[in-house]
Symmetry: C2
Subunit: 73 residues, 2 copies
């Protein structure tokens, strides 16, 4: 997700579109992305550390984006 | 997320980029989007029904995408 304070024009556009479709009570809308990947690893901690590296080096733009990691086994 | 069986070129590109950065054991990668919105509603069931309508009418392309709804209070 974009960090708080970073303008999210896509989110704003979605919010306006929902309003014009008649949905009421919609406040702030933010759009982000989700990346699902399969990892051949049996060590949960090692997997989390590796994914964190992936986020830092490729998946997230940490200047403007936050990221969270969820692991399913 | 794109439905299973729908080609995801963005996911494939991410997978290749991770490989060329030296990350090993990366299997299938899929990219999707997440939309966070604030809703002025005190009724959890009503909120979920409304969000489902939003997904059907605007947020998701149900021909090629699946969606899940999570509500935080």
């Amino acid at each position: 997700m974009l960090k708080n304070g970073v303008l999210d024009p896509q989110g704003k556009a979605i919010g306006h579109a929902l309003e014009s479709l008649g949905f009421e009570g919609v406040g702030e809308v933010r759009q982000g992305k989700v990346i699902e990947l399969e990892l051949a690893s049996s060590d949960r901690n090692a997997a989390e550390a590796e994914i964190d590296q992936m986020c830092q080096r490729l998946l997230a733009n940490t200047v403007i984006e936050n990221y969270t990691i969820e692991i399913e086994e």
